[in-house]
């Protein structure tokens, strides 16, 4: 089957029933996507499918045939960090970093939907991504710093 991963056409010959998470990590070398719980509770494995945030541990790779998948590796443009990535570093939004890839993708979508976000909007938008290090305050500050 074929799909687009971070703007690049990729193909995978194995079973379509395999979890997208495993195919990304084990077949396509995209280990930036993490497994935290394997049952759609923590959001560490968040990826974008056609621009929407999805837990890749709950998606069979067959479901992304012909679609566009974006992982954390696809955020920076040719090594140039996005404003959001820079904000995460500057505000201390990444501590241990294991939730960061999923958190960045969820925040990226939020910022694409609207540039006028309140702290409540950000909390709601990131509620599916668990972080145990930061208490979320610095993550919310980082996302808000990217709004107009």
């Amino acid at each position: 089957m074929r799909f687009t991963l971070n703007g690049r056409a990729v193909s995978f010959d194995g079973s379509g029933a395999r979890r997208l998470l495993d195919v990304l990590r084990e077949e396509l070398g995209a280990t930036g996507t993490k497994e935290g719980c394997g049952e759609g509770e923590c959001g560490a494995c968040s990826v974008l499918i056609d621009g929407e945030v999805v837990d890749s541990c709950l998606v069979a790779v067959g479901q992304v045939e012909g679609r566009e998948v974006t992982t954390v590796e696809g955020l920076a443009d040719g090594g140039r960090l996005t404003t959001l990535q820079r904000a995460f570093i500057e505000h201390g939004a990444a501590q241990c970093g294991i939730c960061t890839p999923g958190m960045l993708l969820a925040a990226h979508v939020l910022l694409q939907q609207s540039k006028r976000l309140t702290a409540e909007d950000v909390r709601e938008g990131l509620a599916g991504n668990l972080c145990r290090c930061t208490g979320y305050t610095k993550i919310i500050d980082a996302v808000l710093s990217c709004t107009q």
């Binding site: 993490k34 049952e39 990444a94 501590q95």
Partner: protein
């Protein structure tokens, strides 16, 4: 040391590994390729207590497809090396099962489905025995601690103008819930060595465990920390088990083995925060003068000792709270039950005992009709005061500073605009000893090295790990300023036991303060020597206990910690009177950290710790069933999300400590101490009911309100 111009310390420079973490390039254990590796799995007990009668491998399965490791395959001692030699690496046939989820067999296979299939073809039969769950019924005691200061009279009630307040508190289990589960990859090397790459806090703990169980020399055991997705104590001692298991499989398979836990296994089998019961009896004069504190602590250690005696020690030393009392008696014990072992978790016993101590201030204040803030001002430890262990506080006592700072920042409470919701505010004042307890640092003699290289750069060598708290960054800041060079000239060697000396475990709020100070001292010495000598140079520094620190382990008298960090937390809560739901709406915390080496990271650590404490106080509950955890999935064990979390406002108070690096004190654990009692006080302020037990679940809140 002479004053240094600070260009890095005190500035929130970019995190060293920040770019790797925001681009997905950071390599955590399971991200590391291991060509030809097999997958490992642990087969665990399904009963809480008994003996293994038989282990049967179903002949219908082709066992050539897997590697099986039993206790018979352990070349060294069948012991998880830590404090006491009670915990086996694998329970042997005929051996005693002491808790559910105890490791019995290990399997490895080329793919996961073979592994699962093999596991289904193993049958283990037990001769069950009667398990012990209740603290009152537990007969095996892991350790006791007795602290006596002055004299606590048994009967003070007859004394004139004396009030005696008694109360019993209960605290529950808590899971560390690092988002990256436990995991290790073991690589057997041609020369008989085993290399471990794992998610861990303490490379040398794992190193010692490997040597012991696999009969390896210092050189044959190599432990490398991968990028680690959170620890909070959960990756202090448990990774020794994961690593030894992976190593046994790899040794037998003759190929690398990846042993990565899934969340369910991690929740079901790994260590938790010790639950316990704490009783207080406090005598005061009617004017609020504190006469005596009589405190009894019982902690549940679970089935094996792990670090329980050290947890109990910290619990006992902090049990009287941040207050000065002439007469104190603390009797603490930790007992064994047939539940999975409890272990290290941020705060290490202190959150449990401080929870009770802080609520006692509230209860006494209520009895006396005084403001609890005024009572704290009257009681609080100040410069020159003496703690329960007889330690005279000679410097950097921030009690009043943090209380004033938090009160100033908190402002006034606005009532809720929702009809069914009542809003309340609570406050707590806590202290937390930085570094190992008593003679711990002296015994350990943590060692670091610093090298001046020929190319003009400098390399720091320590075993202290980055687990999100900022070790990699602050060590470079400290070295750069002490050397008088830019941070770009300083690199940190990887946490690899074949390269770096043992600077001790990354625990006990000791990394910045104790190890960081060694980095600073080594850098100062190199800077000095470079005036006469040419690189390459190497300086090693080991911890030397200052002559002024005295500790008697047998009597528990003396300087329990080199210094204390202080915090005042003010929590606002909304209590929904129809559902019993408690929501923390605002949290202000003022922390005396000595010196903020990196303000953004210091705040981040305080905020994360505070939210972990909010979770412990409100929603994180583990329900037990037949000696196991009933809610051992992330769908049922809930931690705060961004929606549940209050905005946390941190105020850093800098009150330098003369022996800390540039004045810094350890603050890693402190934020876990204050929020829980502040939240319970806030619930009382909102509803008029006192809870003596956490978490304050809706059921408990409704029951307390109903029985009023």
């Amino acid at each position: 040391m002479r004053p240094t111009l600070l260009t890095a310390v005190g500035r929130s420079v970019p995190r060293r590994e920040g770019v790797d973490k925001v681009t997905g390039r950071a390599r955590y254990t399971d991200d590391i390729p291991a060509p030809g590796a097999w997958y490992g799995k642990t087969i665990r007990s399904t009963v809480p207590r008994g003996r293994i009668r038989s282990i049967t491998l179903d002949p219908a399965f082709d066992w050539q497809r897997v590697i099986i490791v039993t206790a018979d395959d352990i070349p060294g001692d069948n012991v998880v090396h830590l404090i006491r030699d009670d915990q086996p690496v694998l329970v042997p046939k005929g051996g005693e099962i002491r808790h559910k989820e105890e490791p019995i067999l290990l399997l490895a296979a080329a793919d996961r489905s073979t592994l699962e299939e093999a596991a289904r073809h193993i049958r283990i039969e037990y001769d069950p025995a009667e398990p012990v769950y209740e603290l009152e019924q537990a007969t095996e005691v892991f350790s006791t601690v007795d602290i006596v200061k002055g004299e606590v009279l048994e009967d003070v009630k007859h004394l004139k103008d004396v009030e005696v307040v008694e109360r019993r508190f209960k605290v529950g289990l808590q899971e560390q819930l690092y988002i990256e589960p436990q995991g290790a990859i073991a690589f057997p090397e041609a020369n008989g060595s085993i290399k471990i790459i794992g998610s861990l806090q303490c490379p040398y703990y794992v190193h010692r465990a490997l040597k012991r169980a696999l009969k390896l020399t210092d050189q044959q055991a190599v432990v490398i920390q991968a990028e680690t997705g959170g620890g909070f104590g959960g990756k202090e001692e448990y990774p020794s088990i994961v690593a030894v298991h992976a190593a046994l499989l790899a040794r037998k398979a003759g190929r690398p083995v990846r042993l990565i836990y899934d969340r369910h296994e991690d929740l079901a089998a790994t260590t938790k925060r010790h639950p316990g019961v704490i009783k207080h009896r406090t005598a005061v004069k009617k004017d609020g003068t504190l006469l005596s504190q009589d405190i009894e602590i019982v902690l549940d250690g679970g089935a094996y000792c792990t670090l329980t005696p050290v947890v109990l020690s910290r619990a006992a030393i902090h049990a009287a709270g941040a207050y000065s009392c002439p007469n104190v008696r603390i009797r603490a014990r930790a007992v064994a039950t047939n539940t999975p072992p409890n272990g290290a978790f941020r705060g290490f016993g202190a959150p449990q005992s401080l929870f009770a101590a802080e609520l006692m201030v509230e209860h006494v204040a209520e009895r006396l009709g005084m403001s609890s803030v005024d009572l704290r001002r009257k009681w609080m430890l100040r410069l020159g005061d003496t703690t329960a262990t007889g330690q005279v506080l000679t410097e950097s006592v921030g009690s009043e500073l943090v209380l004033d700072a938090a009160l100033k920042a908190a402002g006034t409470v606005r009532p809720s605009d929702r009809q069914t919701v009542r809003r309340g505010r609570g406050l707590s004042l806590v202290f937390h000893g930085s570094g190992f307890t008593g003679s711990g640092e002296k015994k350990l003699q943590g060692t670091i090295a610093l090298e001046a290289l020929a190319d003009g750069t400098f390399r720091i060598l320590t075993a202290s790990t980055e687990i999100g708290q900022g070790t990699k960054t602050i060590f470079c800041q400290l070295a750069a300023d002490a050397l008088g060079v830019g941070m770009d000239k300083v690199v940190l060697a990887p946490q690899d036991t074949s390269l770096v000396p043992d600077s001790g475990p990354t625990v006990a709020s000791r990394t910045a303060m104790i190890v960081g100070r060694l980095v600073q001292e080594a850098a100062s010495e190199i800077e000095h020597r470079l005036k006469q000598e040419k690189p390459p140079l190497r300086v090693e520094k080991s911890y030397i206990q200052p002559d002024s620190i005295h500790w008697d382990e047998t009597t528990y008298r003396g300087d329990a910690y080199p210094v204390y960090a202080w915090a005042c937390t003010i929590a606002d809560v909304d209590v929904d009177m129809t559902t019993g739901e408690v929501r923390v709406t605002d949290l202000v915390t003022a922390v005396d950290c000595g010196k903020a080496l990196h303000p953004v990271m210091a705040e981040g650590q305080i905020e994360g710790g505070s939210l972990q404490a909010v979770g412990w106080a409100t929603i994180e509950e583990i329900k037990m069933k037949d000696g196991g955890y009933q809610n051992d999935r992330l769908a049922t064990y809930l931690i705060p999300t961004a929606l549940d979390a209050p905005r946390i406002r941190t105020i850093l108070v800098e009150n330098p400590y003369s022996r800390g690096p540039f004045g810094a004190k350890g603050i890693g654990e402190l934020p876990m101490d204050g929020p829980a009692p502040a939240i319970i006080a806030a619930i009382h302020n909102a509803t008029g009911v006192w809870l003596d037990e956490i978490p304050a679940t809706p059921e408990k809140v409704l029951a307390a309100c109903a029985s009023r």
